[in-house]
């Protein structure tokens, strides 16, 4: 039983570059009103250790007592579960005064909207497709997402692999804050419905790899210096030895994209919420941050020309290329981000780079431009968008 053997439901595995060629993500009715103009929490570039840590994310997996788990439930069961969960989330009310909940029924949402949610890391590709690891379900399978506006920091997936998956994202290293917000929402929902809970296995989930706390803590880190100094593998192996999963920014198989990684716990049973938090936020991530910062200083002091060459080569490509794939652009944006943080690139605001990490994704690119584009058109449009954003100040 391996946590990764059924399609990575835990981590929205967004726009892996392969998806771009396999199908047209923006099929169906295109509505330019979906253009994202809000500030996305994980791209703010703020918070503790923000030079290395982009964002922190907490996810709680919860299920209703007495109901089959979504993969094994009949479509009509799923419809009833969806209704009960949606109303419970509704009744739980807003998490803070200025936040409003937006409910998206994924059976009805146009493909472009679903695509944007995947790229913004709110939901997994699995939830987009509605297809479960056992082959059940499909795009018309009853499922939804509750997103708290305006910053989308909090969201709840309904009828993904579990009935409810509560998520909270914060910029920077801020797992403790995420966890207390997730717990508060969890308590509100639990005041309305009974959760499936077992004296020995804790919170019960469809996949036994998530039982116990049902808690997944993950942190998105940017490790370009460790990559250049060749120490990245050591860090990866150390993290794996500690029972942590290391994945690319947009999930499995996208490791090369800009040296952005998600690090998360795999064990959820036998360690309390606080212990898991302490391990990751108190021990593992600070160590990785220290290594990366050390590698950055080492490059600046001992291999200055090499560092400059990498950074300005990437900047040159971004400012001059006429066709660009999403994955390639992430790679260069990652190096330019490093250059800005090291003080080598002074004429680009880092928030523009952060915004581009999302804007270069197929769905967002088309939403930004307000039109559907073929893959070839997207490459041209992407290159021109990047040129524009990185040359005008």
């Amino acid at each position: 039983m391996n946590a990764n053997d059924h399609g990575e439901p835990d981590h929205p595995s967004g726009a892996e570059p392969k998806a771009e060629s396999s199908h047209d993500p923006a099929g169906g009715d295109f509505d330019p009103s979906h253009t994202p103009s809000r500030s996305i929490e994980w791209l703010k570039g703020e918070g503790d250790s923000s030079e290395v840590v982009l964002s922190s994310r907490v996810r709680l997996a919860r299920n209703l007592a007495g109901f089959p788990f979504p993969p094994y439930a009949s479509p009509s069961d799923r419809a009833q579960i969806l209704e009960i969960c949606r109303r419970s989330i509704d009744a739980a009310g807003s998490i803070e005064n200025d936040a409003t909940m937006r409910w998206i029924d994924l059976r009805e949402a146009p493909p472009i909207e679903r695509r944007l949610l995947v790229e913004r890391q709110i939901m997994s590709r699995q939830h987009d497709r509605g297809r479960y690891a056992n082959g059940e379900g499909g795009t018309d399978s009853p499922r939804g997402v509750a997103v708290y506006e305006p910053d989308e920091r909090v969201s709840v997936l309904v009828n993904e692999e579990d009935h409810l998956r509560l998520q909270v994202i914060h910029a920077g290293l801020s797992l403790g804050q995420c966890m207390s917000e997730a717990n508060a929402l969890d308590d509100k929902i639990e005041s309305i419905v009974d959760y499936a809970f077992h004296p020995r296995f804790g919170y019960l989930t469809a996949c036994p790899t998530n039982v116990g706390t049902g808690l997944r803590l993950s942190v998105m880190v940017h490790l370009p210096a460790l990559k250049i100094t060749g120490e990245l593998e050591k860090v990866r192996n150390a993290a794996n030895d500690m029972g942590l999963a290391v994945r690319g920014i947009y999930g499995e198989g996208s490791q090369a994209a800009g040296e952005f990684y998600q690090i998360s716990n795999q064990v959820t049973l036998g360690k309390s919420d606080e212990m898991l938090l302490h391990e990751i936020e108190g021990q593992v991530i600070p160590t990785i941050v220290r290594y990366e910062k050390h590698a950055r200083l080492q490059l600046l002091n001992d291999q200055h020309v090499l560092l400059e060459d990498r950074v300005f080569r990437s900047l040159g490509i971004l400012r001059n290329a006429r066709m660009m794939q999403a994955e390639e652009s992430l790679e260069h944006l990652g190096l330019v981000r490093l250059g800005i943080l090291m003080g080598l690139v002074e004429d680009i605001d880092i928030t523009r780079v952060h915004a581009l990490l999302l804007q270069v994704q197929p769905g967002h690119l088309q939403a930004t431009l307000g039109q559907r584009l073929s893959q070839a058109q997207r490459r041209v449009a992407r290159a021109s968008l990047i040129r524009e954003r990185l040359t005008t100040t």
Partner: protein
């Protein structure tokens, strides 16, 4: 197709599994509402939940309620499917997904070792417990339901033992921050409400009630 009631056109079709067998149902809007298949916005959440459960001929689940499948006639054959959802252990092995919460009890003996392996030896949940359920059951005299939620004295001892072992390891490694967290956890577990052992409950007036005995 005509609804089960034989009066109206069936517009809602569903397949459920009862006692391991697939049951197809074809219902009109009217009957569907009665059976909890409908999604009328005016029906309260609690009603939706109990409608669903009644529609499936299951006991209404309340937290700590007896939703674990009862062992029929002493022991069930190893190949027996989950009584609530009908999934077999073979199905589970194929996809790595359980069918419903009761599967964990149905397949406890075989799932236990697999779960421990996936969680680096973790066998006993510690940490958060559903808060409202815990506090509402703690006030009740029905200690059986509390026990079904968080376990009885033996589970508590198992939990404490587990945390004490971790604490000893943390102290050995001079990880005092971690040790402090573990001490907090011990305090928390020790302060959790305790269900009274059913043996100490006074026998009720004369009747030889079939007391709920546990065989663990």
């Amino acid at each position: 197709m005509i609804c089960e009631c034989g009066q109206r056109e069936a517009t809602i079709h569903e397949v459920t599994i009862q006692n391991g067998a697939k049951v197809e149902r074809h219902l009109c809007e009217h009957c569907a509402t009665k059976l909890g298949v409908s999604t009328d916005p005016h029906v309260p959440i609690s009603q939706l939940i109990s409608n669903y459960i009644m529609g499936k001929n299951l006991a209404v689940p309340s937290v700590g309620g007896e939703d674990k499948p009862k062992q029929t006639k002493g022991f069930a054959p190893a190949s027996a499917p989950c009584i609530s959802c009908g999934m077999s252990f073979k199905d589970f092995k194929e996809h790595g997904l359980t069918g419903c919460p009761s599967c964990y009890e149905s397949f406890k003996a075989r799932l236990g070792p697999l779960i421990a392996r996936a969680h680096e030896g973790g066998e006993q949940h510690i940490g958060k417990v559903p808060r409202r359920a815990l506090s509402s059951l703690s006030d009740m005299t029905d200690s059986k339901r509390l026990e079904n939620l968080i376990g009885g004295a033996s589970e508590r001892e198992q939990r404490l033992e587990h945390v004490r072992a971790q604490l000893a390891a943390a102290v050995r490694h001079e990880d005092y921050e971690h040790a402090a967290l573990l001490r907090d956890e011990i305090t928390r577990i020790a302060s959790m409400p305790m269900s009274k052992p059913s043996a100490q409950i006074e026998p009720t007036s004369g009747a030889c009630e079939p007391t709920t005995t546990r065989d663990d």
